[in-house]
Symmetry: C2
């Protein structure tokens, strides 16, 4: 009997709904490709504002700009969520060289890692010892390391198809390398850039001293992959060469910043929240177009595309531009804390933080049943070549929202070129393709549309009977 009722409801809704799911998804993609706003917004964020490190003037300008753009969309609510963020500044440009004999030097490209201390004013010059991983340090022991610079030369694994997996295999070298090397008396660390390509760009990224007391901390920098190869080659010929580097970065006091939030309030279940987001802060070397200007403008466009496509969500759809993903995750943590304090019910959160490349699908942190539900929508995505719907990592900013009720998801774009640009001076607007960015925004909107329509209840796929 219940089934007949369900069927009747379903027929009713099919007859009177404006568009079938196929048509709605088609409308979303057409709107994104024909009159999407994501590329125009990214142009402004990248070229009129630029790199947006937490606590910088640019980060504040980005907060003001995106809030203003949200306001132009005629959303139901737009607001700023205050959050205290760390403020690390790079200072004067870094400088480094290899000295093979007194006065015979070769300059190399380095950049300070985010969170590192400066070198002493005149820089550091010392012998340098190469390791494949910080885990090799214990075998070498203090005797061989003390007083030297440690060079951690671990290339990303080229034959992994998912380049984020290759990144994961090396990122702790960057994050923990200095703290570990300091324990053996090293005076600095130089870490091979996390880049699959050989080029001249050093790639920054966060590092941490863990619980190492300030007096024991040593400066840490990344070296470009070409120069890592050069240094390794020169060391093979001459173990006694010296390495010089100088950097002037420092950690200042925390400052006030904001998550930027826009919302379309749900027509039927306003208390059930579907979140889409990216992070508004970026590293300072490039303009943060792929990481993560792309995710921000795509999230903004999800709200705009829903409106533009005549889709009125039943649930509340909230786009959140998180502050401080790169060096603190304060925005993500703050958002989750406040959501919990207010007893807000988030049923779904989707992050785009893997670059603005051609979208391939989504990864999910959810039950098998929910994954099956999403996979049942596969045919709706097929015309757009969106094929990947698997379990996997979602995103850093939405991670703190995790609980038993929420479904977390991450946009999965093609990842082959991402680490060519990640955290480097060439993460810039001209490396984002308009169509690829727009296809990502459309894919996200289509998934949000389906989640809104069918919910995350997996007991039955028919939303209407859930009560």
């Amino acid at each position: 009997m219940k089934h007949i009722f369900t069927l009747a409801l379903l027929c009713f809704s099919l007859t009177f709904s404006a568009q079938t799911d196929e048509q709605a998804v088609e409308t979303i993609f057409k709107n994104s490709l024909n009159n999407g706003m994501s590329y125009q917004w990214l142009d402004h964020l990248s070229n009129q504002i630029g790199g947006r490190l937490s606590g910088s003037l640019n980060a504040e300008r980005a907060v003001a700009y995106t809030k203003e753009e949200f306001e132009k969309l005629g959303l139901d609510k737009v607001w700023l969520q205050p959050v205290m963020v760390p403020r690390w500044v790079r200072g004067a440009p870094e400088f480094a060289y290899i000295e093979t004999s007194p006065g015979v030097t070769t300059n190399v490209n380095i950049c300070a890692l985010g969170g590192s201390i400066a070198t002493p004013g005149g820089g550091i010059k010392a012998n340098i010892i190469e390791v494949g991983s910080y885990e090799d340090l214990k075998d070498l022991g203090e005797e061989k390391i003390k007083g030297k610079i440690v060079f951690i030369n671990r290339p990303m694994q080229a034959d992994l198809i998912n380049t984020f997996e290759a990144y994961g295999g090396c990122s702790s070298e960057r994050y923990r390398g200095a703290a570990e090397a300091a324990k053996y008396g090293a005076v600095g660390t130089i870490v091979r850039s996390l880049n699959l390509r050989l080029d001249d760009y050093p790639h920054t990224g966060s590092m941490s001293y863990g619980d190492l007391p300030p007096s024991q901390r040593i400066p840490s920098a990344a070296i470009s992959t070409n120069d890592a190869e050069l240094l390794s080659g020169m060391l093979a010929l001459n173990k006694d060469l010296k390495f010089f580097f100088s950097q002037n970065c420092k950690q200042l006091e925390d400052v006030l910043s904001y998550n930027v939030i826009g919302e379309i309030t749900g027509s039927e279940y306003p208390n059930e929240i579907i979140l889409v987001g990216g992070h508004l802060d970026s590293w300072d070397l490039g303009d943060g177009s792929h990481d993560d200007g792309a995710g921000c403008v795509q999230s903004m466009d999800v709200l705009r595309l829903l409106k533009e496509s005549g889709l009125k969500p039943k649930r509340t759809i909230r786009a959140v531009l998180f502050m401080n993903e790169e060096n603190g995750l304060r925005g993500g943590r703050k958002y989750a804390e406040e959501a919990k304090a207010k007893n807000e019910k988030h049923i779904f959160a989707l992050e785009s933080d893997s670059g603005g490349f051609t979208p391939r699908g989504f990864s999910f942190q959810c039950s098998e049943a929910m994954l099956g539900k999403v996979q049942s929508w596969r045919s709706l995505f097929k015309p757009y070549l969106i094929h990947f719907f698997e379990m996997g990592y979602s995103g850093a900013d939405i991670g703190p929202l995790r609980n038993d009720e929420i479904v977390l998801a991450g946009l999965r774009p093609d990842s082959q070129r991402y680490f060519d640009h990640h955290h480097a001076a060439n993460d810039t607007f001209e490396h984002v393709n308009k169509r690829e960015l727009e296809l990502g925004a459309a894919s996200m909107t289509a998934l949000v549309f389906l989640i809104d329509k069918y919910g995350t209840n997996t007991i039955s796929n028919v939303e209407e009977i859930r009560d």
Copy 2:
């Protein structure tokens, strides 16, 4: 009984074969990503040779270079197949401007279309009339067209996911536009570049006068998309403006050139040929990295990767670098003619001519049963995110081989950025990503390996019992 025998054979072959299919495919991908040659070969073709228009010195240098590289691989056979090719030359750089009033001019970016005649020595200056398609010409009629330049301003359709479909929707404007406009007395045609992006590069490509007598032919050029927008905007304000263009191209006598061919002879069925190929000629404006240096080096690497991966093909695997795809298809036609004359049996031909971008899968011209057979290998490709196996166009060079017996296939890379570079000065090496190129080579090799192992017989999937 037959089934039991088959099963026994299968078990035998599984037990004693060196690698499972999964392992073989994994080995191929690892070899391509860790020590592929395709990128290095492309670097040479693009940066040491450059654009390779049929009949040019560069085309001949590319023939010599690729033959030499084939020879280094220790193949069973390497040879050149002579073919007469057309020789069209661009001459001095083209020049064009919009004149809004006498002496008030704005320069615009154009390039002659391949096959076009030159303008008279001093160029052509005339009024210009905009149409959306050459099909609009008959409505306008001779009265409105005679003595004018016709401006065909048909943008590629942005909301098609397969950008080749968008290209197909406009390419006859470029190919036939001048011949059609000449019939109504036009003195020249300017065609909007076939580019989905707005930028300053004019994109060349072939055009034809059909059976129009030489005396009635008019010069034809492409204009960059930015300048097409500019010209259209200026025409909206002032229908009387004049357009000037000058070009110096000409068609010379046919010259001798070559298809370059390398082969691994099959160990069991040497007379069954599996072909992989791309085209060695390119347009002259860029260095032809995507179109189709990529397809050539990937095809070369198919042979190398099979050897490198310890896979000894049962059938003959032949890599063919076709000459003159861009403006004549003489190489493809010649190859098919000779194959027919020699009664060669080609069971499969795969072309890569859609750019060196991340591979998504393959399109096939074959029976439904054969497509089903290929789709049964889907799980082997899944770890590499190769998901597209559908009916569709294969490639121009292998088209002439078509008959009832052969299976034709085309590599399908991500196509979103292809037309940003296609036939333009920015089809250059730095726009090819090493990993993306290598993934394409590996995908092609994996498909060739499976076709070689299991054949194209669809009566049974078990190769061994086919006799």
